[in-house]
């Protein structure tokens, strides 16, 4: 199963991407650092959000800090229903930066858990309208199957609630999706450390999406590099096939030819 790095490509909605690390653009202390972060992460896809302009204090568009050539993945954050997500997605596409959309429908304010049912409905409508739809979801196999039927281009289960940095709390359920779903499974949310990202990739995740872990670290550029390396290490390990676990010890050195006492 060994695959050389240069041919191990990820295809989402018919588009080939080289990097398996997707990053968000939120929470940076200063957005002007984003180009340097993206360069260190070597990522192809970056998420953005759609919001009202404050006419009293119009701020710079985030687009000024995103280098040309990146795939923009707008999210529908703020949507509480399928209808609101669909409206947000159509507005985002009208911006003229492509037809990718991360569906995010959240109506739980404490844990920010996605509403799978509303997400399935929005996926169906938007996929029919020609969007490349990446639904953010709670890792439920049955809901994931519905999202595949609805026309999703990938499935994005959460590892842990958004911004918690707690890693793969839902690991066993993500493993079921990787096993059963014939689309890229991208672990989104909760990844707080490079070791979490490596673990997700070792399991066979197609990619990881993270924001807080890089943006709120002491040195976002260095952390972006650390995540790039972790994702590459985890992916390479998955392709190489991790050795089996055992409850008993198995000596690595020969058990013959010892010195006599």
């Amino acid at each position: 199963l060994w695959v050389e790095d240069d041919v191990d490509e990820l295809i989402i909605g018919g588009v080939t991407v080289h990097s398996r690390l997707i990053t968000g653009s939120g929470k940076y202390h200063d957005d002007r650092i984003i180009p340097e972060v993206l360069a260190a992460a070597e990522c192809d896809i970056i998420t953005v959000a759609l919001r009202r302009i404050d006419f009293n204090r119009p701020s710079e568009s985030i687009l000024n800090n995103i280098p040309k050539g990146k795939i923009l993945l707008p999210n529908t954050s703020g949507a509480r229903t399928a209808e609101e997500a669909i409206r947000s997605a159509r507005l985002s596409r009208a911006m003229g930066c492509g037809n990718w959309i991360k569906i995010e429908v959240i109506n739980d304010q404490k844990y920010l858990l996605p509403d799978n049912s509303e997400t399935i409905q929005a996926t169906e409508v938007l996929a029919k309208e020609g969007f490349i739809v990446l639904p953010y979801m709670y890792p439920d196999l049955i809901a994931a199957r519905r999202m595949v039927e609805a026309g999703a281009a990938a499935i994005m289960p959460l590892g842990a609630p958004i911004g918690t940095n707690r890693g793969l709390l839902t690991k066993d359920f993500i493993a079921m999706l990787i096993e059963e779903i014939d689309l890229p499974v991208i672990v989104d949310a909760g990844i707080g450390r490079p070791s979490h990202a490596a673990a997700a990739m070792e399991m066979g995740a197609a990619a990881v999406l993270l924001n807080t872990a890089i943006a709120t670290s002491d040195d976002p550029v260095a952390m972006a590099r650390a995540f790039k390396l972790a994702v590459q290490a985890g992916r390479t390990a998955y392709c190489a096939g991790c050795a089996a676990e055992s409850s008993e010890a198995h000596a690595s050195s020969p058990l013959t030819g010892f010195l006599d006492n």
Binding site: A49, R52, N75, L91, S92, A94, L210, T212
Partner: protein, 68 residues
């Protein structure tokens, strides 16, 4: 008569703007970085300069910001 509109959730009376293009211009907003909805209908960017603002319009002007 001065038009009163709901702009991003706030009731305002534009100084002189008669079109979406002029409204953005009054606030020095780059039209290439925004999308505009009037009464829930999308206004395409090439129509900003001739799309009239009418009394009672509900206008949303949005742009991309950092997000995850």
């Amino acid at each position: 008569m001065t038009a009163t509109i709901m702009l991003n959730g706030k009731s305002i009376s534009p100084d002189a703007a008669k079109t979406i293009g002029q409204l953005l211009g009054e606030h020095a907003i780059d039209p290439s970085h925004v999308v505009v909805e009037v009464n829930r209908a999308l206004v395409s960017r090439e129509n900003f300069d001739r799309f009239p603002i009418r009394d009672g319009d509900v206008i949303e002007v949005l742009r991309f910001v950092g997000g995850g």
